[in-house]
């Protein structure tokens, strides 16, 4: 049709294949997905902290953080919790099944303020999924950053995501991993027990002037973690956090993620603590 020839359609989902999937914990599954079009797969360029819109035709579309790192291109990884219509349908997919993706969207973490500085990554529960991307990104470009602290807390050992991976990293020299569970329900937990903030006591002396913090977790966790970070005197604009809102388009058109004058999908989902003080509805 002549009226519509050659239109770029940012809403057009592109086919991608589920390459591999396995359960992380109950109702949480890890997916490796690759665009069918190899060129697209290799050229899909993103920043840690960005997300993609995943579609299952007939069910709908929803945003999911990209959990892999752009330093390992080709395959996108996502960690997904089964909560509703779309995610239920996704969990029924088998390896090699087709889903549809578009993106990447969002601002992603600001890497610049981390370069040649110390980094504290604080994750609570599911929040570790987007942070895994920045974690590997830093590890893959290790020489560009100074000290790296990774604090991760889950409710109990059975809800601790990426257990194998994260315990392997723990063995590395160039990262300080501090893990915790609120409660040890299994009896064989070897790490710290207590809420994630209790890990702060185990941190060595931090120089707030050269440190950037990155946080993600459930809304309630932010309050307490930020308090700890402020205690360490980390500047408010050096605390990056990722937030969640309802989203239907991912590109600032549908309005659902709007608050004040910002759209979480394009101006976020990464905000600094300073931003959240400005936009009172952010957390």
């Amino acid at each position: 049709m002549s009226l519509s020839e050659q239109i770029e359609n940012p809403f057009l989902p592109e086919p991608a294949r589920i390459v591999r999937q396995y359960d992380l914990i109950k109702d949480h599954r890890f997916f490796q997905i690759r665009f069918i079009d190899m060129n697209r797969a290799m050229s899909f360029d993103y920043v840690p902290g960005q997300f993609a819109m995943l579609s299952i035709p007939g069910v709908g579309e929803a945003p999911f953080s990209i959990s892999s790192t752009p330093s390992r291109p080709g395959i996108l990884e996502m960690g997904i919790r089964r909560t509703g219509n779309l995610t239920r349908a996704l969990f029924k997919k088998k390896d090699n099944d087709i889903v549809y993706l578009r993106g990447p969207y969002g601002n992603g973490f600001k890497i610049e303020p981390m370069v040649e500085r110390d980094i504290i990554i604080v994750a609570g529960g599911l929040g570790v999924i987007p942070l895994r991307s920045i974690l590997y990104f830093v590890l893959d470009n290790r020489d560009q950053f100074d000290e790296l602290y990774f604090l991760y807390g889950a409710r109990n050992p059975n809800e601790f995501l990426f257990k194998n991976e994260f315990f392997q990293i723990k063995a590395r020299e160039d990262i300080d991993c501090l893990y915790s569970v609120d409660k040890d329900t299994t009896g064989d937990w070897t790490e710290n027990t207590g809420v994630v903030t209790s890990l702060f006591q185990k941190l060595p002396k931090i120089d707030p002037q050269t440190t950037t913090a990155v946080v993600c977790g459930p809304p309630i966790m932010y309050k307490f973690v930020i308090k700890e970070l402020l205690k360490l005197k980390i500047p408010k604009n050096m605390i990056q956090m990722t937030l969640e809102r309802r989203m239907k388009c991912g590109v600032g058109k549908c309005g659902h993620c709007a608050l004040d004058h910002i759209y979480t999908c394009i101006d976020g989902p990464i905000f600094t603590y300073w931003d959240t003080l400005h936009f009172r509805e952010l957390i």
Partner: protein, 258 residues
């Protein structure tokens, strides 16, 4: 391997059969529907029902006799998914407008005298008073587009999407002038949408046949209608006409306030 077709049953309890009829009324899509599923039981449209295990049961009507109570339990036992279709199944229907006010026995006697029936009549109640319900398709009768969208999702293994908005949403999309501005009685804001604002499209007030909108601001709307000179009791009576069991909680809140 032949394609697996979901086994479907469509059942009618006490009501006007409008929701089943509406499915029959889909004319062009009715054949698609029959082809996409293995229709095990649809007594209103077909003989020789096969009452075995089914994947999806669509159930219309309220539960109004002892026999119906047993029958719906029996359907629940062999149905993977049970969908309440239509106001009677969802809320109890008009026959439940006096729900729980204790007048049923008197009214039954008024109509039938002292006769004993082969099955004991009970006051019309929504399905979820007797069994668990997986999905609801409200409306009196249900809307064809909502019904077909829900059916298409269920038979193809996807979860249906709700439409949790008031009638006013579609009413504005249909470019109607709001009746409340003319101080006319309209239940649009208190009523779940999905009807394509059928009544306001004709300049007539929403009578509430989709049942209550859970987000409805009952208190303010009541005050507004009262300010038009409509008596409190009239308004309460009218929201109950189609509100059945689902309106009771709202009414209770209101009367608690007064």
């Amino acid at each position: 391997m032949p394609e697996y077709k979901p086994r479907v049953g469509i059942y009618g309890f006490t009501g006007c059969a409008g929701d089943q009829l509406l499915i029959i009324h889909t004319e062009d899509r009715l054949l698609d529907f029959f082809n996409a599923v293995e229709m095990r039981s649809f007594v209103m449209a077909s003989s020789n029902p096969l009452e075995t295990e089914i994947d999806i049961a669509f159930v219309e009507g309220s539960i109004s006799t002892e026999e119906e109570r047993q029958h719906i339990k029996e359907i629940r036992d062999r149905a993977g998914v049970l969908v309440a279709i239509g106001n009677c199944a969802v809320s109890g229907g008009p026959q439940a407008m006096f729900a729980k006010d204790g007048s049923f026995a008197r009214r039954l006697k008024q109509v039938y005298g002292d006769i004993k029936f082969i099955t004991n009549p009970v006051e019309g109640a929504p399905l979820d008073e007797v069994v668990s319900v997986d999905y609801y398709l409200p409306g009196c009768p249900i809307s064809q587009s909502q019904a077909m969208a829900l059916i298409a999702r269920l038979i193809h293994g996807a979860d249906p999407e709700e439409f949790p908005h008031p009638v006013c949403h579609e009413c504005k999309l249909n470019e109607n002038l709001c009746l409340l501005l003319d101080q006319k009685f309209c239940l649009g804001p208190l009523t779940l949408g999905g009807c394509h604002s059928a009544c306001p499209n004709n300049g007539l007030p929403c009578v509430g046949c989709w049942g209550p909108n859970p987000d409805g601001n009952f208190e303010e709307q009541l005050g507004l209608l009262e300010s038009f000179g409509i008596p409190h009791e009239d308004i309460i009576r009218r929201v109950r006409n189609f509100g059945g069991y689902k309106i009771l909680a709202h009414i209770e809140k209101l009367s608690g306030k007064r």
